[in-house]
């Protein structure tokens, strides 16, 4: 089994596993912070977002959006990272 195959079975926390009031990360107003709760579904994209530092339980802050409306810039886990609305929409934060 290759290393990549060994990781393929990893699972991310999804909304079904949670019973908590959430909102999508892209709905977070600029300058506000919240806490990451989970993801909308579990797939290769959300697993990558997890590897990038969008870890449930971590605080996340929306810093700004680009002049043309997209993408959005966030601060999470000590780094500043840019996501498009479509990807940010898949991350759930506490409402």
């Amino acid at each position: 089994m290759t290393l990549a195959e060994r990781f393929a079975s990893r699972r991310c926390i999804t909304a079904q596993a949670l019973a908590q009031a959430t909102q999508a990360l892209d709905a977070l107003p600029a300058g506000e912070a919240s806490c990451i709760v989970g993801f909308d579904t579990d797939d290769v994209v959300t697993r990558r977002l997890f590897d990038l530092g969008f870890v449930p339980g971590e605080p996340v802050e929306r810093l700004r959006r680009a002049p043309l409306g997209d993408p959005l810039m966030f601060r999470v886990g000590g780094i500043e990272i840019v996501l498009r609305r479509a990807e940010a929409h898949r991350i759930l934060v506490a409402a």
Binding site: R10, I13, L49, L63, A66, P67, G69
Partner: protein, 642 residues
């Protein structure tokens, strides 16, 4: 006994330790690699794939150790070609003596996720903690000895610009065999790895750094909806001003130097054909292309400065929305920006794109960006099309046409990217777009220097191989077959009249025969056989067009080649006696050069980057058809107005 190395990590020298550098992008991996190996690094390619491979020998107390700089990876769960390489190299465990994990101390929590994955490989491992100084400056802290105990492997902190850490690292590198293998494999499942990382951070007395206030202040201006946009365009403007204005005097010196060398060859070599060969083919051919060296060097100085400070990521962020109209992402902007100097670095810059589909679409678009090799062709043709006096106030007609050509190239590139993004396999999953914004930092001069040196070396290799070969072949075609005195007398040419002899040789040369043979193809565009020879020779490299027309023109009038070119007339066919360079023909030529794929080096790089000739052939095919059709359109439209 023979060894078969299947994986990508075949050792270069047997018996020498081999260590892989693994880390996420922006973790300071390349700076560390340059610090360890300096200019002794070798660049190569992984077999079958499109990712460049860097390795270099590091001198240690126990002899040399080969260090391989693996591409940046956020995870060993690969989603980009770069990350696939990292996973594959670590899978091929027996070819490595150890793994050096490069982790950014300011972002240790995420770094531990990668540590957990790499430790699964079970290789002797050591961790290099970078940006420890920045962590402390921003109010965070870490006890690297406690971290080492918690992880069960050696942890070496390094501080940028300080030799101490690198020297300590060199000592550690001396014997990878003695490194600790991870005592246990940490979990990689999300919940479990989060808990594990939390406990490791706690034992290492880690406290997260405050947000970088300097970066925050700079970003509030540089990414401001209005000021940020203004500064972005001002930066791009200065970028091109520098490339074209600062390079101009340097290019002038190179031109003069080669003209002087050519004169020496012409006056000192008594044999007529040999002096022409040395002066025109060798010195003229190489010199005509070497003039681009200052521009290419400057472009790389500027790009690596912008990259080193962290602004290039911001530019990609600002441009992402615009790039998304073509189905691409912000990072593709950087690739297309580099293509304005040369499509080769542009195509190589597509490596940062995680999506294979985006990479191919960007590669197909890159040759349409106006590269610096088109510049001398445009300068020559625009100069023949309109006079420098024409214009309104500060807007000169020549400059406006040049600007229009750049714009047409960029718009065509975006259209091509959009098209290819749509036709290339729909099956692949939509990959997420993400881009880390590094803190603003002072660029490392050594990194800038190495990047400039590497690209200049690649360019010089192109000049001394492809371009030199083409000019020599061209010179031969233009001057063969050699005419004997009896041939000349038979044709009614006075053998003592040097000008008449060269003109006759040219008109009956092998090149002329080829130029005439392709006339049916280019006749609708208004090209005559001499232009055809120029266009065909420029298939090797665009800038050759200028030197070819130069060779042809100086054959007809060595005293005043520029005049000879402007007044050149069709010497056969239905337009006999009419001037060749009419407005519609010049317009058609200009538009032809906007689209045509006239660069063997670019096709070669596409082959190298995609691993197959398929995409080189597709690019050559679609761009040739586009060039012909658009040139015909230009010829027809301009023909309506004159």
């Amino acid at each position: 006994m023979t060894h078969h190395h299947h994986g990508p990590a075949a050792p270069t020298q047997p018996g020498v330790g081999r260590v892989a550098l693994v880390g996420s992008p922006n973790a300071g991996k390349t700076t560390l690699f340059n610090g360890l190996t300096g200019l002794r690094a070798k660049t190569g390619n992984y077999p079958g794939v499109t990712v460049a491979r860097y390795e270099g020998a590091v001198e240690t107390t126990a002899g040399p150790v080969v260090v391989e700089d693996l591409p940046g990876a956020y995870s060993l769960d690969p989603i980009s070609p770069d990350e696939e390489i990292v996973a594959a190299v670590l899978d091929e465990a027996d070819s490595l003596s150890g793994v050096l994990l490069v982790i950014d101390a300011t972002n240790l929590r995420r770094g531990l996720g990668l540590v957990a994955q790499v430790m699964q490989a079970g290789l002797p491992t050591a961790v290099v903690l970078t940006f420890v100084d920045e962590l402390v400056r921003r109010g965070g802290r870490v006890d690297h000895e406690a971290l080492s105990r918690a992880l069960g492997v050696n942890v070496i902190p390094v501080v940028a610009g300080e030799r101490r850490g690198v020297e300590a690292l060199r000592e550690v590198l001396a014997d990878p065999g003695s490194w600790d293998e991870p005592p246990f494999a940490p979990p990689t499942e999300p919940d479990a790895v989060t808990g594990w990382a939390g406990s490791v951070l706690k034992s290492a007395h880690y406290s997260q750094p405050d947000p970088d206030s300097r970066t925050g202040r700079l970003d509030s201006i540089l990414l401001h909806p209005i000021w940020g946009t203004v500064i972005f365009f001002a930066t791009m403007y200065l970028f091109f001003q520098t490339i074209f204005v600062v390079a101009a005097p340097l290019q002038g010196w190179i031109e003069e130097g080669f003209a002087w060398l050519g004169e020496i060859a012409r006056t000192n070599i008594p044999i007529g054909w040999l002096s022409s060969f040395v002066a025109d083919a060798l010195i003229g051919g190489v010199g005509g292309v070497l003039v681009f060296l200052p521009q290419i060097a400057l472009l790389f100085v500027l790009i690596s400065l912008l990259e080193g400070t962290g602004y290039l990521s911001r530019a990609a962020y600002l441009m992402d929305r615009i790039m998304s109209t073509a189905g691409l992402e912000g990072r593709a902007f950087v690739a297309l920006l580099s293509s304005l100097a040369c499509a080769i670095p542009g195509i190589m810059a597509t490596r940062t794109l995680p999506s294979a589909k985006d990479r191919l679409a960007t590669m197909m678009a890159a040759p349409l960006m106006t590269c610096s090799a088109r510049l001398p062709v445009y300068v020559l043709l625009v100069g023949m099309l309109v006079s420098p006096e024409l214009g309104w106030g500060p807007f000169r007609a020549q400059g406006t046409i040049m600007f229009g050509l750049y714009l047409l190239g960029a718009a065509s590139a975006m259209t091509a990217a959009w098209f290819f993004k749509r036709v290339i396999g729909r099956s692949s999953v939509g990959l997420p777009f993400y881009m880390e914004m590094p803190s603003y930092r002072l660029p490392k001069l050594k990194t800038v220097g190495i990047s400039v040196w590497d690209s200049c070396k690649a360019f010089l290799r192109k000049v001394t191989s492809i371009i030199l070969l083409t000019t020599v072949v061209l010179w031969t075609l233009l001057n063969l077959p050699v005419r004997s005195t009896s041939d000349l007398l038979e044709a009614g040419v006075d053998p003592s009249d040097q000008v008449a002899v060269t003109a006759y040789t040219l008109d009956h040369s092998a090149a002329a025969w080829i130029g005439h043979a392709v006339e049916p193809v280019f006749e609708p565009l208004g090209f005559d056989w001499r232009v055809n020879v120029g266009v065909l020779s420029s298939l090797a490299a665009r800038e050759v067009f200028v030197s070819t027309l130069g060779q042809i023109a100086s054959a007809s009038d060595p005293e005043n080649p520029a005049e000879a070119l402007a007044t050149m007339t069709h010497d056969s066919g239905p337009h006999e006696g009419e001037p060749v360079f009419t407005a519609p023909t010049i317009a058609a030529l200009l538009i032809f050069f906007v689209y045509a794929m006239q660069c063997m080096a670019t096709l070669g790089v596409m082959r190298r980057e995609t691993g197959t000739w398929k995409w080189s052939l597709i690019a050559f095919g679609y761009l040739s058809v586009a060039a012909w059709l658009m040139a015909l359109l230009a010829h027809t439209v301009v023909g309506l107005f004159v």
